[in-house]
């Protein structure tokens, strides 16, 4: 340990960095109205949606870049990005899993996401009985998870559709939803994140190519976890997916999202929009394990993850809960938020963000309290290592009508090594005298004493750091569906390997 320093800890190679060799239909780089029209036409969209996209595009042209985030990068040339790429074998889109190109299925298998329904999420359940004594034992039955797999610009497969349909749950790609459930899409698309909300959301609204759509009807508890797995494969493409989840009165759904991309020297843009709508007594639990390619040790390459995620608790007593584990991306810029409109509605945000090498993360949430007795909880755990910068940015706003509103926020930072940065920028805007808002933040480091105690008990420094970091994140992992909590813990472990050399 003496000749190895804490700074050297984070050296592990990215494991999802392979490229799938598959023929793609890719638009040449560049963005103008014809590209927007092309994408819309490709998806055989109705006129209103084409117009909606064009409106977004025209608005975007006049919008400035957001400049306030604590991140630094060279300006992006939006004309060098290709806005549409689809595996050629997809053609008009397969009707069933059997029609999906085997090469694509292999890609997802390699990533631990089998698209065969008889299987379960591989790599998740197999090892989910951790040898350590977390107090819980492995689930006796295999959980079933329905997966929507999005490869570059298109959704290539959605599993368990039939079983879900029996429960009345709609789970499909957004393109299909536009075709099959136009009334729902038209009603809710852009209702939570308006087209002109911000620069990246406007761009997404103009060029979004695919994504997932979920509708859980009144009173239905979705019988399985729903999950979308996003994969960027093609070079010089951006991924602009759009997710819309609607939980009708009294419905419940738990949704998971995972992401990876190949290792490439240039930066790639991912600008997604996720909209959640919860009606009366509905609950949506949205979990993300984000592992986009973070760039190499010198900070070359990696994904720019500029994402707008927002949920609206429209109905009384509704609840939206965001849980995120962010370990990837060169730059992360995302603030999964909740608009608490319904009385007694609840918003939650649980976040672990780990940055290492030259990664930059500026992430947090907004809790907008509009209804009476609305409650929100924010737990953010930031871990910085290497030369990275990790920022929590959050807004808690109470309106005059939000009588009795409550917020509790806790932001903890863990620093590993002396060259990283950890920042906390909470905004509290209170306009309601009966509201209570509490914010606490603290900073700690992995101390030499802690490492030495572990080592003296025979636990090597790397395992010790990973154990300490996992302990630091426990409050957030607890919120993830169990199988994913294990996966998240492992991802963190992998990300930290080599962090204490």
């Amino acid at each position: 340990m003496t000749d190895r320093s804490v700074e050297a800890l984070v050296k592990r190679e990215y494991q999802a960095g392979f490229v799938t060799d598959i023929e793609s239909e890719t638009l040449p780089p560049g963005l103008d109205e014809s590209v927007v029209r092309f994408i819309s036409a490709k998806k055989q969209e109705p006129e209103w949606l084409t117009e909606w996209r064009l409106k977004a595009y025209r608005g975007w042209l006049n919008m400035p870049h957001p400049h306030w985030a604590h991140v630094h990068f060279a300006p992006i040339d939006y004309q060098t990005i290709s806005y549409y790429s689809a595996p050629r074998s997809q053609g008009e889109g397969p009707r069933s899993l059997d029609e999906v190109d085997p090469e694509l299925i292999r890609t997802y298998e390699k990533l631990g996401i089998p698209l065969h329904e008889q299987e379960i999420l591989a790599g998740v359940v197999k090892d989910s009985a951790p040898a350590d004594a977390r107090g819980a034992t492995a689930p006796p039955e295999s959980p079933r998870v329905a997966v929507d797999a999005v490869f570059d610009s298109v959704s290539i497969a959605t599993t368990f559709k039939k079983q879900l349909a029996e429960a009345g749950v709609v789970f499909c790609s957004i393109s299909e939803a536009v075709r099959d459930h136009p009334e729902l899409v038209r009603k809710y698309l852009g209702s939570v994140v308006p087209v002109a909300d911000n620069f990246y959301a406007a761009l997404n609204s103009a060029v979004f190519s695919d994504g997932s759509f979920v509708y859980v009807p009144e009173g239905v508890r979705c019988p399985m976890e729903l999950s979308t797995y996003f994969r960027i494969n093609a070079q010089n493409t951006g991924q602009f997916e759009r997710t819309l989840i609607i939980a009708d009165k009294g419905a419940y759904v738990s949704y998971l999202e995972g992401c990876t991309a190949p290792m490439r020297d240039e930066n790639q843009l991912h600008a997604a929009v996720v909209e959640l709508v919860a009606l009366e007594d509905a609950q949506i639990k949205y979990s993300t394990v984000q592992n986009w390619y973070p760039g190499d040790a010198e900070g070359r390459g990696g994904i720019y993850n500029f994402v707008t995620k927002r949920g609206a608790c429209l109905g009384d007593r509704s609840k939206i809960s965001w849980t995120q584990v962010e370990t990837g991306s060169a730059i992360t810029w995302k603030y999964p938020s909740v608009i608490l409109r319904g009385n007694d509605s609840v918003g939650e945000f649980y976040s672990v963000a780990l940055t290492r090498n030259h990664q930059q993360a500026d992430t947090g949430t907004k809790m907008i309290h509009l209804g009476r007795n609305t409650r929100s909880t924010i737990i953010s755990k930031g871990i910085s290592a290497g030369r990275s910068n990790n920022t929590y940015r959050g807004l808690v706003r109470t309106s005059p009508a939000a009588t009795g509103a409550r917020n509790y926020t806790q932001c903890d930072s863990l620093l590993i090594g002396g060259q990283c940065g950890a920042h906390t920028f909470p905004y509290i805007e209170n306009r309601c005298p009966t509201a209570t808002v509490e914010h606490e933040a603290s900073t700690s480091k992995v101390s030499d004493e802690q490492l030495f105690l572990c080592q003296q008990r025979g636990i090597d420094a790397e395992k010790a750091v990973s154990m300490i970091v996992n302990g630091f994140c426990k409050e957030v992992f607890r919120e993830l569906p169990m199988e994913f909590a294990v996966e998240a813990g492992k991802l963190l472990e992998v990300s930290l390997e080599g962090a204490v050399g």
């Binding site: 002396g418 990283c420 906390t424 209170n430 005298p433 509201a435 209570t436 808002v437 914010h439 933040a441």
Partner: protein, 379 residues
């Protein structure tokens, strides 16, 4: 998107009246000009419009100079800025040039360009009595204060004048120097801008107690820089928002050297339809291991139409630190209220008592009593 244009530098400060040896007016003018263009896009003026300040600065007359009491004592040398020359002038010139942050302190730059009467104070030993400064209305009153290594001083600032006032105070604490600083701003009918910037050398100690009542428009910026190991800063204060009033306080504590300690504790009450903005930033530089910094900001919203915004910030660039902040906005604790009423205190009186205790906790020093009385009036 709303567009707002700001007056340019010439409109605000006019032509410099005459040569002032302590100010490199050309440089400061240029710097202000550069940053005035971008001020609207910056976070610093997110909650308080800068334009009314600029307008008032532009309208400013000659004003009367600040009155300073207690200057005739051993170890203290006070020179009015009008009479400043030689090394003293050079020293101020350099401090203004190098130490003010053009982007953060654009209003301070503009105020200095309009400054009429002000003081340079040099303290070379432990001063026996306090120095009292009365800031006059309708003027810009700069104070440049230097404490030599080992020197000690108590500074009391009365900022109670009505009308418009702008203050810029630059304080330099030498090695082991100690400054006890008490300020109170109790007037309501004011437009007030102030910048207080304090530099602490090794083992220097700074204690500030600042109690503010919101004005028509009041903005108080305090910037404390820990530049030597062992430096110690303790900032505390209470504030109050009354009907129709606005108060914006911006605290920055920068740890530029390691092993320094800072504490910040501010309690505020919103007692009328108005707005309070509190921004408290702790910034730990990469070369400041062993930094220990804490901030606590609590707000009590007592009026249905008061807005209380708070933004505690941490910006940390090294791992060997102890930093924490906490902020709350809320109401009186019900159990405390119950405890008092159970002892027979009527509820209204109990509320007043508890609210008063809440702010009294953060008041100290020679002005505390006056502040307590002033706050009590509003409750």
């Amino acid at each position: 998107m709303k567009t707002l244009t700001l007056p340019d530098v010439a409109e605000v400060v006019g032509d410099p009246p005459r040569e002032r040896p302590w100010l490199d007016a050309e440089h400061v003018r240029e710097r202000a000009g550069d940053h005035l263009l971008t001020v609207l896009t910056r976070e610093l003026w997110k909650y308080t419009p800068i334009k009314p300040f600029l307008d008032e600065l532009a309208r400013l007359g000659a004003g009367s100079p600040a009155v300073l009491e207690g200057i005739d004592q051993p170890g203290v040398r006070a020179v009015p800025l009008d009479a400043i020359e030689g090394d003293d002038a050079l020293r101020i010139r350099r401090a203004v040039g190098e130490r003010l942050d053009g982007a953060r302190h654009v209003l301070a730059d503009l105020a200095l360009l309009r400054a009429a009467g002000g003081w340079f104070v040099h303290v070379s030993a432990a001063a026996a009595g306090p120095l009292e400064m009365h800031v006059p209305p309708g003027g810009v009153a700069p104070l440049f204060l230097v404490l030599e290594p080992g020197a000690e001083l108590t500074l009391v600032e009365h900022m109670d004048a009505e009308g418009f006032l702008a203050q810029v105070a630059l304080v330099d604490l030498g090695r082991g120097a100690r400054l006890h600083h008490y300020r109170a701003a109790h007037a309501r009918d004011v437009g007030h801008y102030s910048l207080l910037q304090v530099h602490l050398a090794q083992d220097a100690g700074y204690r500030l107690n600042q109690n503010c009542v919101a004005g028509n428009r009041r903005r108080a910026e305090v910037h404390v820089l820990m530049e030597g190991p062992g430096a110690d800063a303790d900032l505390a204060g209470a504030y109050l928002v009354e009907p129709g009033q606005h108060l914006d306080q911006q605290f920055v504590v920068e740890h530029r050297a390691g092993h320094a300690t800072s504490r910040q504790k501010f309690h505020g009450i919103g007692a009328g339809k108005g707005r309070s903005v509190f921004n408290g930033r702790i910034h730990i530089h990469p070369d400041a291991p062993g930094s220990d910094a804490q901030l606590s900001n609590r707000n009590l919203a007592l009026h249905p139409d008061v807005e209380m915004d708070t933004k505690p910030e941490l910006e940390i660039y090294t791992d060997d630190v102890r930093c924490a902040h906490g902020a709350t906005v809320g109401q009186l604790a019900l159990d405390s209220l119950f405890y008092l009423t159970a002892r027979g205190v009527p509820e209204a009186a109990a509320r007043r008592l508890l609210s008063h205790g809440f702010v009294r906790e953060c008041m100290a020093g020679p002005l505390a009593e006056a502040s307590a009385v002033r706050f009590m009036e509003a409750l």
